[in-house]
């Protein structure tokens, strides 16, 4: 029966996404290929002194990204450090250094890992002028990088790959803003809180005093999902009834997370002039997503631990208003995109169910991944897949008419090295460095054994993939984890971006090899299957030993 509900829920999401796939994908295609600037965009370009018609080399494009992000980190850090003197701070003090660094790094990288507890740390100004702004622009940076890579495939013999400032501005102004405004109003209509009111102090039935936070929730909620950011207004994130009050908002929030990453495959297909190429990529995303969702629903419904078997499903940490299916769908969506929003507590899932969420991230978040990040991630894996199997048709490998030579392979290989190495080295150092080990065991972990280990693995996986969700049992606000995860977040974001932009540059320089019947086709089911296989083999298998020590040892009880 649970599968029936699961299929219905999945089908509903699929149908709605299918309906917006073309319009949204085509719209984004026009946004990034149009020659016209809107009037306020012209002002922006004038203020920052950019010629919007001038293309940038990959190096200039990358300098733009890194410079912009560095400034954002510094700004966000400072904003938190002087919080006490800012207006609307609700009486909160300055945020301590390591935590401020962690939060700044986390929001600029589209991770939104929250070592802090928002309810007791940040006032309205930092949330609004700092975090919310980053929710938009960090997502826009992701889209820009993806578009730059797609241009690398689409352009011929070009030294430039577009203009970062134009891509950033358009992604923010023409895509993220309008959708956020419309959907934000809808969310408010459906009951998500939006005010600047003082907090409410109430006396509960039991006679305790309780403070209920208020605030501009809906406006942040919409971009939190749309930009696959995931940083909740409240600590409880989307399981909090102010953020996600009912099934309708739950459905909309899932759709918001998925719509841009999914539709970007259409934009990709349009830009390279073959929409079927986009379908093949989308196919791989759908297969991975559906498999993951099925696994989670199965693990949560049919776990063989005594309580679950008695109650007919593992409901610990899940909201009764969402149940296993809608919690599983939200969790799968959130960990498959780089959102990290939660409407249930992942730490409380069965060991195998929680492992699936980790695996979604360990795949490199490509099903369908974060806004932009998912597309460039899977395109890099497509390059690797083409390289491995492409030789088997008797030609040196090419993808979309671009030869995959030593330079392209260098970028792609380094790309898939970064994330797994960051995760396993991060986890290992946490247990190998004496002071870190002590901090982990004494402060961070409440659970011992395999589950405690899983919590640390989840934390680093989430950070290196810019997801931001957590196995909540861990106390992450320690100097070691704040710093290490902050570093993981930065490495996991900017190293891959640098490699992708360099790859875009070397692809753009190439001419296109014409398609013949001797060309390996990449718009077929066969290629979709191959891509899935390579992603699973290269990304997931790397984590086999780690998973064996954590969730597998915990979940597979003889």
């Amino acid at each position: 029966m649970v599968y029936f509900y699961a299929i219905m829920a999945f089908g509903l999401i699929a149908i709605i996404l299918a309906a917006i796939y073309k319009p949204l994908g085509d719209y984004m295609y026009r946004v990034f290929t149009s020659d016209k600037d809107l009037f306020f965009e012209k002002w922006i370009y004038k203020i920052i002194g950019v010629d919007p018609r001038k293309g940038q080399t990959w190096k200039a494009y990358l300098r733009g990204i890194l410079g912009f992000s560095l400034l954002s980190v510094l700004f966000l850090y400072l904003l938190q450090r002087i919080q006490s003197v800012l207006p609307f701070s609700m009486g909160f003090d300055n945020v301590p250094g390591p935590l401020a660094f962690n939060t700044a790094a986390s929001f600029v990288t589209n991770t939104n890992w929250q070592s802090y507890s928002p309810d007791v740390t940040l006032g309205y100004t930092v949330q609004f002028a700092g975090l919310a702004v980053q929710n938009f622009v960090s997502a826009a940076v992701g889209i820009a990088v993806a578009i730059a890579l797609v241009r690398g495939f689409a352009l011929r013999k070009s030294e430039t790959i577009g203009n970062f400032w134009v891509d950033l501005t358009r992604a923010t102004m023409r895509i993220l803003m309008p959708i956020s405004i419309v959907m934000g109003i809808i969310l408010i209509g459906l009951g998500v809180t939006q005010n600047f009111a003082d907090w409410i102090h109430v006396t509960t039935i039991a006679g305790n005093q309780q403070t209920i936070m208020q605030g501009p929730v809906a406006s942040q909620e919409v971009i939190k999902e749309l930009g696959t950011n995931g940083g909740g207004f409240f600590n409880a994130n989307s399981s909090h009834p102010y953020e996600n009050p009912n099934m309708w908002t739950n459905l909309i929030e899932i759709l918001l997370m998925l719509c841009i990453p999914v539709a970007l495959t259409r934009t990709f297909g349009r830009m390279v002039g073959q929409v079927k190429q986009g379908y093949a990529i989308l196919g791989a995303m759908v297969i991975l997503f559906a498999a993951s969702f099925t696994f989670v629903v199965t693990a949560e419904s049919f776990s063989n631990d005594p309580i679950t078997s008695l109650t007919g499903g593992s409901m610990e940490g899940k909201e009764t208003r969402f149940g296993i299916v809608w919690s599983g769908l939200f969790g799968t969506t959130s960990t498959s995109t780089s959102t990290g929003a939660v409407n249930s507590m992942h730490d409380s899932y069965t060991a195998l169910g929680g492992m699936m969420y980790m695996l979604n991230m360990m795949l490199g978040e490509v099903s369908p991944g974060g806004v932009g990040a998912g597309l460039y991630g899977i395109l890099v894996m497509a390059v690797v897949a083409v390289f491995i199997a492409g030789l088997m048709v008797g030609r040196t490998p090419e993808y979309l008419g671009k030869k995959i030579g030593p330079r392209e392979m260098k970028m792609a290989s380094l790309y898939f090295l970064v994330m797994p190495i960051t995760v396993v080295v991060g986890v290992s150092l946490s247990f190998a460095l004496p002071f870190a080990r002590q901090s982990i065991f004494d402060t961070s972990l409440n659970n011992s054994g395999n589950h405690g280990f899983s919590e640390v693995v989840y934390a680093f996986t989430s950070a290196a993939n810019n997801n931001g969700s957590a196995f909540a049992g861990i106390t992450a606000d320690t100097p070691w984890l704040d710093t290490a995860l902050g570093m993981a977040v930065l490495l996991g974001r900017f190293l891959p971006i640098a490699l992708v932009i360099a790859l875009a540059g070397s692809l753009a320089k190439q001419d296109v090899v014409p398609v013949t019947s001797g060309t390996m086709r990449t718009d077929t089911k066969l290629f979709t299957g191959l891509l899935v296989f390579v992603i699973v083999l290269i990304s997931a298998l790397t984590f086999f030993p780690t998973l064996a020590l954590g969730p597998l040892a915990e979940g597979l009880v003889a």
Binding site: M392, I404, S428, G449, L537, A548
Partner: protein, 724 residues
């Protein structure tokens, strides 16, 4: 060598061919044993360093050997594992390295026989150096005694010859170095290079002027200008190539190396990080098992076979008597999308054949047949014979008429014919030549006849044929135009099908011909090529190549003449005929020793086969990891976490047997795949989708399944070892 006879050289070539054949037919075991000494030499770490994947295995084996020694000294270091476990694993790893080295050594060994035979021809020979060569006094370089100038001849060793030196080579002597004939004509035995025993004619000027060092002049005397630098002769290059001495990695090999190195790095990090992670749950793993896991995960199969695949690809080309100047050229051959093929000799037989007699109106059909056949009886050219044959097919047999005088074809008259004893004269030739003859003979055949003749000629041309006009001059000097013999280009058998194959592979075939567009179109249609260049001049070829390349196509062509050189250089794969000029050979990136332009098609297939083999073994190697994970991961942690036993889907006996079985499989699979690496994956001309689908199921799916079965079987034996 100077005492060697012509026969010796020929024998060398035959030995060489036999050697190559023998080495191919030898059983795998024999090949491996024969290559063992070379394989052992490759254990030198300075050599291993070039192959990062196998270098890691080498380091792992050395590390475990040391660890084994320490464990004997102090048993507590073994962590409860039997002390000999580390030793056995170390030995298996050493064998893994050995097998990789063997694969390379076997591949190189096959080229060695060829190189040795070639080396024999390279021995220093005495050269007759002309001192103070003076073109004015050519062609008879005979020295001062003839009074022809200040030249003198000096005997020097061939190794002392410099670029631009001029030597004289007389009958029976070996040509001391690569060069161009500047004077004279000679028949040359080139069997040492080509294996073809029939002598070839080389003469100054034109496209047959290049001679190769080490070949022998059988008759006459030639003056040769040396075009090689010392130590860089064609033979030197060949030896280096077949030995793989200065083998450079191709771009695709480098890219693959990058991928393999990255996978190696990632697995290295993963394995190094296992114990720090396991320490959190007190499940530390022994160093021996960690090294075994690392070796299993890194792509050793392809790492071990990669260079053998490359060498074997080059070798397959050499076996077809084609020499590539670099491995890169072979890869490019696999990528080719456009083939430029010369019509004559490649698509059609060199000679045209008569296919029809067309009598003019008012002329009896038998009359033209008789005239054409009679005049061709004494004509030994294939065209002439084909006319006689055609007449015979029509049931008409003619005997030579006593007293008739055959008139041979000359460049001046451009006609041949027969003068009969009764004063009649038969002539046949090209239209313009015949018309000219009629005019000079002062005959008048009438405008209608001329028009009728032109009509016929045009019809024949349009059909892709070459018209040959036949006329008869009567004893009274009046001339009768009998009609036109249609000569037709005969397309080689089986070519149509091969072009069809090419099309399936995504390769366009383009015919290059000097014929007029109408004729060219007709032949192109018959042969089934995709496009043609008619009335082609060498610069047209060049322009066409540039045009194709601008569209992103990769172009292959063959050529032999000096004026082909620019096009050969421009093309992505330029195959020069060995019979061609040195300029052509220098410009191309391959030389076909048999001078058979049809071979271009084979070359493309060899290139594709090389790439497919490389891809198939890479896929196989990477897919293998799935099973190895399932063998070793449960083995590592099962004791501490019995639940992980569920993952032991192969039902391996114990942790130790699982680890050992996995690395034994890992080593054995290398040996088992050596024949495939050398022979190459079977290649059929098909659309890429089909090829990919089949290879993916064989090497991808097979690569996942095979190790599950293999490791399971090996485990059945390994569990018999006491203590496992």
């Amino acid at each position: 060598m100077s005492t060697a006879t012509v026969n010796d050289v020929a024998n060398n070539a035959n030995d060489l061919a036999a050697d190559v054949k023998k080495s191919n037919n030898k059983s795998l075991g024999e090949m491996l044993i024969k290559s063992l000494p070379d394989a052992l030499k490759k254990f030198d770490p300075r050599n291993m360093w070039h192959n990062p994947v196998m270098f890691i295995v080498w380091v792992g084996a050395a590390f475990l050997t040391l660890l084994g020694i320490f464990q004997i000294a102090d048993g507590s270091l073994a962590n409860g594992e039997p002390v000999y476990f580390t030793w056995i694993v170390a030995i298996v790893l050493w064998f893994t390295v050995l097998f990789a080295n063997l694969a390379e050594a076997v591949a190189e060994g096959r080229g060695k026989a060829q190189a040795d035979a070639l080396r024999k021809t390279r021995t220093t020979t005495p050269a007759q150096l002309v001192v103070g060569y003076d073109e004015e006094n050519d062609p008879d370089v005979r020295g001062p005694e003839t009074g022809h100038g200040p030249t003198s001849i000096m005997e020097v060793p061939s190794s002392d010859l410099k670029l631009g030196d001029v030597v004289v080579v007389s009958e029976g002597e070996l040509i001391p170095g690569d060069g161009d004939i500047i004077s004279g004509i000679a028949s040359v035995d080139e069997s040492a290079i080509t294996g073809e025993s029939a002598p070839v004619i080389r003469e100054s000027g034109g496209d047959r002027s290049a001679v190769t060092g080490g070949t022998r002049v059988l008759s006459d005397r030639i003056v040769v200008r040396i075009t090689q630098k010392p130590g860089e002769s064609f033979v030197d290059k060949m030896i280096a190539l077949v030995e793989g001495a200065n083998r450079q990695k191709t771009p695709n090999e480098i890219a693959l190396d990058v991928l393999l190195s990255s996978l190696t790095i990632i697995f290295l990090v993963v394995v190094l990080c296992i114990n720090p992670q396991a320490s959190s749950v007190d499940a530390n793993v022994s160093l021996t098992v960690l090294v075994a896991l690392l070796v299993c995960l890194i792509p050793t199969t392809i790492g071990a076979l990669l260079s053998a695949i490359g060498i074997a690809g080059m070798d397959r080309l050499v076996q077809r008597n084609v020499l590539a100047t670099s491995g890169r050229a072979i890869e490019a051959a696999g990528d080719v999308t456009t083939l430029l093929l010369d019509k004559t000799g490649t698509i059609t037989y060199g000679n045209r054949q008569a296919s029809n007699f067309h009598a003019l109106p008012g002329v009896d059909h038998d009359e033209i047949v008789e005239a054409a056949a009679l005049s061709s009886l004494a004509d030994s050219t294939p065209e002439g014979q084909s006319i006689v044959d055609l007449a015979r097919k029509e049931g008409k047999e003619y005997d030579e008429i006593a007293g008739a005088v055959p008139v041979a074809f000359t460049a001046e008259t451009r006609m041949s014919g027969l003068d009969l004893p009764n004063g009649e004269r038969i002539r046949k030739g090209a239209t313009s030549a015949v018309e000219h003859w009629i005019e000079t003979e002062g005959a008048n055949v009438g405008q209608e006849v001329i028009d009728a003749m032109h009509d016929r000629v045009k019809a024949v041309s349009n059909a892709g044929g070459t018209p040959l006009v036949v006329v008869k001059q009567n004893a009274d000097k009046s001339i009768k135009v009998l009609g036109v013999v249609q000569l037709k280009d005969v397309v080689k058998k089986g070519l149509r099908e091969r072009f069809e194959d090419m099309r399936k592979m995504g390769i366009r075939t383009v015919m290059v011909t000097g014929d007029n567009p109408l004729t060219a179109a007709a032949i192109a249609k018959e042969a089934g090529v995709d496009d043609f260049i008619a009335e082609a001049k060498p610069e047209d070829k060049l322009a066409y190549i540039k045009k194709e390349q601008a569209k992103g196509q990769l172009v292959a062509m063959t050529g032999d003449g000096t004026n082909d050189a620019p096009a050969l250089a421009q093309s992505d794969v330029g195959v020069a005929m060995n019979s061609g000029t040195s300029a052509a050979k220098e410009a191309g990136n391959m030389v076909d020793l048999d001078s058979d332009p049809t071979k271009l098609i084979d070359i493309v297939q060899i290139g594709k086969q090389l790439l497919i083999t490389r891809g198939a073994l890479t896929t196989f190697s990477i897919a293998n990891d799935v099973a190895k994970y399932f063998a070793i991961i449960p083995a590592m942690f099962m004791e501490k976490f019995p639940g992980l036993g569920v993952l032991n889907i192969m039902g391996l006996h114990s942790s130790l047997s699982a680890v050992l079985s996995a690395i034994i499989f890992n080593a054995i699979i290398i040996v088992l795949l050596i024949p495939l690496a050398l022979k190459g994956v079977k290649y059929r001309a098909e659309a890429s989708e089909k090829i990919l689908g089949r290879n993916l199921s064989v090497y991808g799916l097979g690569g996942i399944i095979a190790p599950f079965i293999g490791i399971w079987i090996i485990d059945l034996f390994v569990r018999l070892i006491p203590g496992f």
